[in-house]
């Protein structure tokens, strides 16, 4: 690979990792902190991507929209659309046991993909939407990377603050002991819904960045494998509940996933069609091994220190 090729690849790698990082932080808010099971990440990712794409793409007769708005407008709309969707989905399902929430969110993601595929007048159908404007000048990928990383940093700071705030402590309490939290007078459903909505908005933002960065979206990009499963692997590998761990996990898993494509490129030409399947098999196996060997992840969750209180070594109390 030439130096320029390497530089281009590095940009692509980091930007995509950053986009995945945003989604992983959203999932950490939902599952890591609050125990809200979301198997429909791909659906929110898709809604964010399509919302932003329809608003920011150049006008076209192929599908609805094409308002050529700037990316910030698309990104805000993407987050709002996902938040609204999450309120609707959450209102119906947030009280359910994790298993049912998982089935329901997976279902909603599949329905969203079905709508995208079949409502060609709005979404371009299977042909997708092309010509989505990048935020600044075309081909200025470095700026896109900077923008994604800046957003990631801000969101990281927000989630980290949220984690140690009273709000985050309630979420963790609910995750650990729902009945106890309810007995303490907390509105369990409301807190869980809030975490679900905010996390889903993150996923929408990631979708907006993705659409703008790649410049083209189609339903294929939002299959559960890429849109949902990889992010779960990132979260669990890094350490569910630990924001730093989640980012480390995102980076490492994306590295392994990308490297595995280089490995399968070495396969004989006759096996080229199997390459994708081999990669998916391996990433599935990797998750199984992590679950069995180190379910807490690379950087396990730590109890947050409380804001505004210095931690002195506690003296053993006498009561």
């Amino acid at each position: 690979m030439s130096t320029i090729g390497l530089y281009q690849y590095g940009l692509y790698f980091l930007t995509t990792a950053g986009i995945y990082g945003i989604m992983a932080l959203g999932l950490n808010l939902q599952w890591g902190l609050s125990g809200v099971f979301n198997l429909g990440i791909a659906g929110f990712f898709a809604v964010g991507a399509y919302t932003s794409a329809i608003l920011t793409a150049a006008p076209t007769p192929d599908h609805w929209g094409g308002f050529a708005l700037a990316l910030p407008a698309g990104a805000i709309a993407a987050m709002l659309a996902c938040a609204v969707l999450a309120v609707i989905v959450g209102a119906a399902t947030i009280k359910l046991r994790s298993d049912y929430l998982a089935i329901a969110t997976l279902g909603i993601a599949e329905v969203i993909r079905m709508v995208i595929k079949n409502e060609g007048e709005i979404t371009g159908g299977v042909r997708g939407i092309a010509g989505i404007a990048s935020p600044f000048d075309a081909n200025d990928q470095l700026t896109t990377l900077a923008l994604v990383l800046a957003a990631l940093a801000v969101l990281f700071w927000l989630v980290e603050r949220a984690r140690i705030s009273p709000w985050g402590r309630v979420l963790r309490a609910i995750r650990e002991n729902e009945d106890g939290s309810r007995a303490a007078g907390k509105n369990v459903s409301r807190f869980r819904l809030e975490a679900f909505v905010v996390g889903s908005a993150f996923m929408g933002l990631a979708g907006a960045f993705y659409a703008s960065f790649i410049g083209f979206i189609s339903p294929e990009a939002f299959q559960p494998v890429y849109g949902t499963f990889l992010i779960w692997v990132m979260l669990i590998a890094g350490g569910s509940g630990n924001n730093v761990g989640v980012l480390v996990g995102t980076f490492l898993v994306w590295l392994v996933w990308s490297a595995s494509s280089m490995l399968t490129d070495l396969l004989p030409a006759g096996m080229a069609t199997q390459a994708g399947a081999i990669r998916i098999f391996l990433i599935g196996l990797m998750l199984q091994v992590i679950l069995l060997a180190r379910p807490e992840g690379l950087l396990p969750e730590k109890s947050p220190r409380l804001i505004g209180r210095k931690h002195k070594s506690r003296k053993p109390s006498s009561d």
Partner: protein, 286 residues
Amino acid sequence: MEFLQLTYNGLVLGSILALGAIGVTMIFGVLRFAHFAHGDLMTVGAYCTLTFVQTLHWPVWLAALPALALTAVLAVVLDQLFYRRLRRVAPVILLISSFATALMLRAGIQIIWGPGSEVFERGISIPWRVAGLVITPDSLKVLAGAALMVFFVHLFLSRTKMGKSMRAMSDNVDLARISGVPVKRVILVTWLFAGMLAAVAGILLGVNTRLIPTMGWNTLLPIFAAAILGGVGKPYGAILGGLLIGLAMNYSVLFMPSAYKLSVAFVIMIGVLILRPQGLLKGIKL
């Protein structure tokens, strides 16, 4: 007339869903987790059958027998490799693990058999026309196969000690445990039972249409819907739920494009979860 045809098609699809849903509901009843790899277990059963059909030129019903055994054993192996070790942790971890298993099975099928579509038997079979109904020989085979299987399931659950133990555990795990139900053996048999039924469901799905690596995954959602509608943990509820979901999915084409068939199953499932979470036959309370 169209309504009658849709009813027939709905029963054919529903009987396939029912077989898948019995397995899902029993796994949930006994082990308390939603088995996301169940659809892909169906696909494995179908493709194993295909191999015997293609290499040994056996008829489908004969090829199905070793495929049933292989799928049942695979279900036990998956349990021993992955699920058994995670049982002490939260059930939700089992769910994540089964999602990974689902992907691995599907990827494995693509690696071994390729991503294209296959059929058990080539050639055209002429459909019969009975009172305005179009009935293909294949769809009759599906109905017959499913009915036979449901009959066996009924005998097993109502006449054998193991079948009764399974239902007892599904009703109340703790009560079953203290009544001396051999928990480990019941878990083993549950996997054999669910694996076999999944294989039959997959084979019948392949007979009815064709085989593609995603065929099982694509039916997972209606199968979950059927299990939830019937009452989770209730095998007879799963049969009823499967038939109702199959009918609803087919009737939906009267009102909306057929591309949205799947969403009907989903909407019913959400509706049941909100309005009557214990399902029709009073399954496990949420």
